[in-house]
């Protein structure tokens, strides 16, 4: 790596799990990592955050699944994936064989689904920790999204933490589509979350003026990209201010090292680069390098010194 890496100590941690770089992929934006191998040294990045896995293989939704929007995009993929059996048989061994850290995103529609997934991932080589995608409809609550209800969100997190490998930190991924994100953050932290991933996409809609119908097959979709960055940063700021001791994995529209720096200054101890990877498949490594330069230029000896620095 570059001389700049020795100038600034970029090491950080997800909960108690140390990582050499604070820059990770984002769930749903880098598949399960292998596709980025031609562009990025996957062993050097913080971790590959895998696409949310469920108990069974999922086809995902019909197309169109994507609409470009100003400085962002709307997606409605529907969590297409191989299911936990496929992930355990193919994707996680591929990553582990290469020494790539995996932060595994899990999703479900019942509390038991999440717990069953956490159980299956206990002790799996290369699995650094779990990110709990609670932005899923809860079939036992008429489809209300777990992340929008502090009680349902806490139920999932405590069930996962109870059965997950003690060596694997559990991060809850929060939705910005709530009136009080600090309230949800407090609830899931009290339920045992070792950290918080912030933020998931915002719910959005695009209508085609020619067909005069919604563009996406799934009608609504998740908005991501630089367009949502100020919203994400505000969420990280508010939660860090309320609970400075809780580790935050910040994400939402990060495209450059200076974008990442904003999240660190707001209180994130690591960041995920998501939609920017579609624009630049080497973005995760580039953001790491740019962040190291930005920290050095500002006189920081380590990344850790900069976490939450904007709150002074």
């Amino acid at each position: 790596m570059t001389a700049l890496d020795t100038a600034v100590d970029m090491s950080t941690a997800l909960g108690a799990a140390p990582i050499p770089s604070p820059v990770l992929t984002a769930s749903g934006c880098s598949a399960n990592g292998a596709e980025l191998e031609p562009f990025v040294d996957l062993t050097a990045i913080g971790a590959v955050v895998t696409k949310s896995v469920q108990l069974w293989p999922r086809s995902g939704r019909p197309t169109p699944r994507m609409a470009e929007t100003p400085s962002g995009m709307l997606n409605s993929i529907g969590l297409q994936g191989p299911g936990i059996d496929g992930l355990l048989a193919d994707d996680l061994p591929w990553l582990a064989d290469r020494g790539v850290r995996a932060f595994v995103s899990i999703a479900g529609t019942r509390v038991e689904d999440f717990a069953a997934l956490a159980e299956r991932l206990r002790g799996v080589p290369g699995v650094l920790g779990l990110e709990v995608n609670i932005s899923c409809p809860n079939v036992e609550s008429r489809g209300e999204v777990f992340a929008c209800d502090p009680v349902a969100a806490s139920d999932v997190v405590s069930a996962v933490r109870a059965v997950a490998d003690p060596a694997q930190p559990v991060y809850a991924k929060l939705s910005p589509d709530v009136t009080d994100i600090v309230g949800v953050a407090r609830a899931v932290s009290a339920a045992g979350a070792d950290g918080l991933s912030m933020i998931n996409t915002l719910l959005g809609l695009v209508i085609d003026p020619d067909t005069m119908r919604p563009v996406l097959g799934g009608v609504t979709g998740g908005l991501s990209g630089p367009a949502i960055r100020p919203v994400a940063l505000r969420c990280v700021w508010q939660v860090h201010q309320a609970m400075p001791e809780v580790p935050i994995l910040g994400m939402g529209g990060i495209r450059s090292g200076l974008d990442a720096l904003q999240f660190v200054l707001a209180g994130a101890s690591a960041v995920s680069v998501g939609t920017a990877v579609f624009n630049d498949p080497s973005a995760v490594a580039r953001v790491h390098d740019e962040l190291a330069v930005a920290l050095a230029e500002r006189g920081f000896a380590s990344l850790r010194d900069a976490v939450g620095y904007a709150h002074r």
Partner: protein
């Protein structure tokens, strides 16, 4: 159903990402042919593959990559035919010689080659015909007689007729009759298949709009011929991570999956793409049950 095709195999080389210079620019009817000084992409390219461009520069508000089939790859340069229609492709078409652009490639699976000497029909719709140039050259080098059918709505939307003419017998069709015969490529193809003795056509390749690919694939399958089509689905990344460009495709095990056009394609066996089901979620797609779709 016994399939006439095998799924296209992966390309021999992984892609690279490079910022490259535009070394040539030539307006061709409604299109702009761009040539890029991209030796590392050119040397890796196989016919049927594509490149993905970042558009608008490093601070662009248009984040999604624009994927375009490779028309030519030789002497350290890659050529693409840009059809300006939205802001991204219009930006690309406006690039001038000496400008730079971030490009990833070559991407996707190439057209499978038939056994040497197999007579081939190539069908190109609009700018899609450009994507068949490299294939035509490779087929000829392997001793295959090649017939190319190039069609478009009008004369200004034809492409690569001259280039293909150097390698193949070319039939031109336009919807409005402004060049070649009036009609569609599929009319010319149907005529060709009925007028030639059995065995005079061994394989069909196509690139163009989805409706055309569907008609070509169905005609080939009906005639008992293998066909390979390069699909044009909107992609966000081009490299396999976004999962937006999926199509229902029948695999070797006979099961249908939502397959990525970028990494599982863009070349698919024409009899394997379930064209009629594009944009829907059929119950027998692997994993449809988890989406709540049940068998009728």
């Amino acid at each position: 159903m016994t399939s006439l095709t095998s799924p296209a195999a992966r390309a021999a080389h992984p892609p690279v990402q490079r910022v490259v210079e535009v070394s040539g620019r030539r307006p061709v009817g409604a299109y702009v042919e761009l040539t890029l000084a991209a030796p590392e992409i050119a040397e890796r390219t196989e016919p049927g593959q594509f490149v993905a461009f970042a558009v608008g520069g490093p601070t662009s508000a248009h984040l999604l990559r624009r994927s375009i089939a490779i028309a030519g790859a030789a002497d350290g340069a890659v050529t693409v035919m840009v059809a300006p229609h939205g802001p991204g492709s219009t930006w690309l078409a406006g690039l001038q010689v000496g400008d730079t652009v971030d490009v990833v490639g070559p991407l996707g699976r190439p057209y499978p080659m038939p056994s040497d000497g197999t007579p081939a029909v190539l069908v190109g719709g609009g700018y899609g015909a450009a994507a068949l140039r490299g294939l035509a050259a490779r087929l000829r080098a392997a001793g295959s007689p090649v017939i190319a059918i190039c069609g478009a709505a009008s004369a200004d939307r034809l492409s690569s007729v001259d280039e293909l003419g150097e390698l193949a017998e070319v039939i031109v069709t336009t919807d409005d009759g402004s060049a070649g015969r009036q009609g569609r490529v599929t009319d010319a193809m149907a005529e060709l298949l009925t007028s030639r003795a059995p065995g005079q056509v061994g394989v069909v390749y196509a690139c163009g709009p989805m409706a055309m690919l569907r008609a070509v694939a169905e005609a080939a399958t009906t005639a008992g011929l293998p066909s390979y089509v390069a699909v044009e689905e909107s992609m966000a990344c081009g490299v396999g991570v976004c999962m937006t460009c999926v199509l229902p495709v029948v695999g070797e095990d006979g099961r249908t999956r939502f397959s990525r056009s970028c990494t599982d394609g863009p070349v698919f066996g024409g009899d394997r793409v379930r064209f009629a089901d594009v944009g829907t979620l059929p119950w027998d797609v692997v994993g449809a049950d988890a989406m709540g779709v049940v068998a009728p």
